[in-house]
């Protein structure tokens, strides 16, 4: 699997490269600034890109903007955005185009290499990988969520992170059919149309919770 890495701190860039190569990824470019990233994404069209939010030259949200711009010109280009902090605002922006192949994770998640690599593969396949922290923020306090039972909220959280039914069942010690039943109930309560396709289902959930209370946006 071909991957582009954008990270300005040398140690992290080298560490990520080493980690991904250990899992048989091919690192086709490891860049350290926003403009270089945009060029690399368009030149290499990687299977997945791993992008730090804050990059030179401005050290603001260069990486995020480059990722959004690249996905604008190449819809569905799989990008996993890494950051020292996760924000609902940025998650909403990444999800705004409604396409799959998006990840948004805290840098800490890299420590758990298996889960991190799993998230990359999921995004490369057109799925999503949302950080549990940002999912928790998106879900908490939204009025429709009050209708869900605690168990359903757990299932919803894991689903919003981008996990499959099997993974959710494993994590919560539930059978596949129990997971399906919970999901059907969640979709019913939120008024969403059910879908068999995992990725499309996750996007519907994310669009729903990210769309909530977004009237505050200009």
């Amino acid at each position: 699997m071909r991957v582009v890495i954008a990270e300005d701190v040398y140690l992290l860039r080298a560490g990520l490269t080493r980690l991904l190569e250990a899992y048989d990824f091919e690192v086709v470019a490891a860049v350290e600034s926003g403009p270089e990233l945009l060029a690399a994404l368009i030149e290499h069209r990687p299977d997945v890109a791993v992008v730090d939010v804050r990059l030179p030259p401005t050290f603001t949200d260069e990486g995020l903007r480059a990722a959004i711009e690249a996905r604008h010109t190449h819809p569905g280009l799989p990008v996993v955005v890494l950051s020292q902090h996760v924000q609902q605002l940025y998650a909403r922006e990444l999800l705004a185009d409604g396409g799959g192949g998006v990840g948004y994770l805290l840098k800490d998640r890299v420590f758990n290499d298996e889960q991190f690599v799993d998230a990359l593969r999921r995004v490369a396949a057109g799925g999503t990988a949302m950080d549990p922290d940002v999912v928790a923020k998106l879900i908490s306090g939204r009025p429709p969520m009050a209708k869900l039972s605690p168990r359903e909220r757990e299932v919803l959280g894991l689903m919003a992170e981008g996990r499959s039914n099997a993974a959710i069942g494993q994590r919560l010690f539930l059978s596949d059919s129990a997971v399906s039943k919970h999901i059907a109930s969640i979709f019913g309560k939120l008024g969403l149309a059910a879908s068999d396709d995992d990725n499309r289902r996750v996007l519907a959930v994310l669009a729903h919770i990210a769309g909530n209370s977004s009237e505050s946006r200009p």
Binding site: D108, S213, S216
Partner: protein
């Protein structure tokens, strides 16, 4: 000398010359035009004297100078009348003495009062020294808090991390299972340390503020608030980082207050910049009764803003609603604030 004054003087001189000419043509005799000359000299002299006095800086000194100049012109006039009316006993001594006495009283009163400018400056120095000590207090308290957070948080985690790693290294041959679980513990400890460092960093300078500027940073606070907060922001540029930071923490404090005390459901935040003034209005539909002197929250906001000559106006009648208006004088730089929908 202003143009209108010069024009007035020219007209007066023309009038004087004309009457003198008429007097010369009409057989001379008693030189009556001297009264015309005197008549036209009065307004010109007064205007000239006042124009001179007006060169002083605005304030009491200028008023004194105008007073003096008019007194001098009137005194001269009386002397001239005395000269033209055939000398005799020097009667102008009385009005001149009266004018001088009046002027003396004016000057004496002025001398007794502290000069206006000085009083303004004293007030300003007072405000500045108070806001400076307030700013230093806030800063010192913040540094203490950061020190404590680092000491009790990340630093302590690092110590336990090093201990776990040392123990794991010792056990790796004799008891690999125990070593593996210690390593797992060490990893968890690192994650917690990062969490705590993130909180500390957020308290020093919120990352979104650095990355996106005030408007989006306030949007993030709004999204994370338990209340339904609407944000309408119109900032065509970036603010100075210290002002941006003060405004951000002030808004965050006000929103925290609203969530804790107001009983509000909806909050509206308007952010705008006009005429070198940043203006932020936080309006909630709660039960009001916010006391600007009571809680430490509003006082703290006021002190924070005071450092930048900013003000906080509180309108919160019992029963609500509450409207809090902040104004900070500042300029916008041309750096454009990125907005969510635009990638560039």
């Amino acid at each position: 000398m202003t143009r209108s004054l010069r024009l007035g003087a020219a007209v007066a001189a023309g009038l004087g010359l004309l009457t003198t000419l008429i007097w010369g043509v009409s057989g001379q005799g008693y030189f009556w035009p001297r009264w015309v000359w005197m008549g036209v000299a009065i307004p010109v002299g007064l205007a000239g004297a006042v124009a001179w006095a007006r060169q002083q800086r605005v304030g009491r000194r200028r008023r004194l100078a105008i007073h003096g100049a008019i007194s001098v012109v009137i005194s001269l006039l009386e002397v001239v009348i005395w000269l033209l009316s055939g000398l005799g006993w020097f009667w102008p001594i009385f009005p001149i003495a009266a004018l001088a006495a009046l002027f003396g009283v004016h000057a004496w009163v002025l001398g007794r009062l502290p000069p206006e400018r000085e009083r303004e400056l004293l007030q300003r120095v007072d405000v500045l020294s108070r806001s400076r000590s307030g700013a230093l207090d806030i800063q010192a308290a913040e540094l203490r808090r950061i020190e404590r957070d680092l000491h009790d948080g990340a630093q302590a985690r690092m110590v336990s991390l090093a201990m776990s790693l040392g123990l794991a290294a010792r056990l790796v041959k004799s008891d690999p299972d125990a070593a593996a679980s210690l390593l797992d513990e060490a990893r968890a400890s690192t994650v917690s340390a990062l969490d705590e460092l993130r909180d500390v960093v957020h308290g020093i300078h919120p990352p979104v503020l650095a990355e996106r500027g005030l408007a989006d940073a306030i949007r993030v606070v709004a999204l994370d608030s338990p209340l339904d907060v609407e944000v309408a922001a119109d900032l065509p540029g970036r603010l100075d980082p210290p002002v941006e930071s003060a405004a951000y923490f002030a808004v965050r404090e006000l929103l925290t207050n609203a969530a804790k005390h107001s009983g509000a459901e909806k909050v509206q935040v308007d952010v705008g910049h006009a005429g070198q003034l940043l203006r932020i209005v936080v309006h909630d539909d709660g039960h009001g009764g916010a006391d600007p002197a009571g809680g430490t929250g509003l006082l703290g906001v006021r002190r924070r803003l005071g450092t930048f000559d900013g003000v906080l106006e509180v309108r919160s009648p019992t029963g609500g609603p509450t409207t809090l208006t902040m104004e900070i004088p500042c300029v916008l730089s041309s750096r454009r604030t990125s907005t969510c929908s635009e990638p560039d």
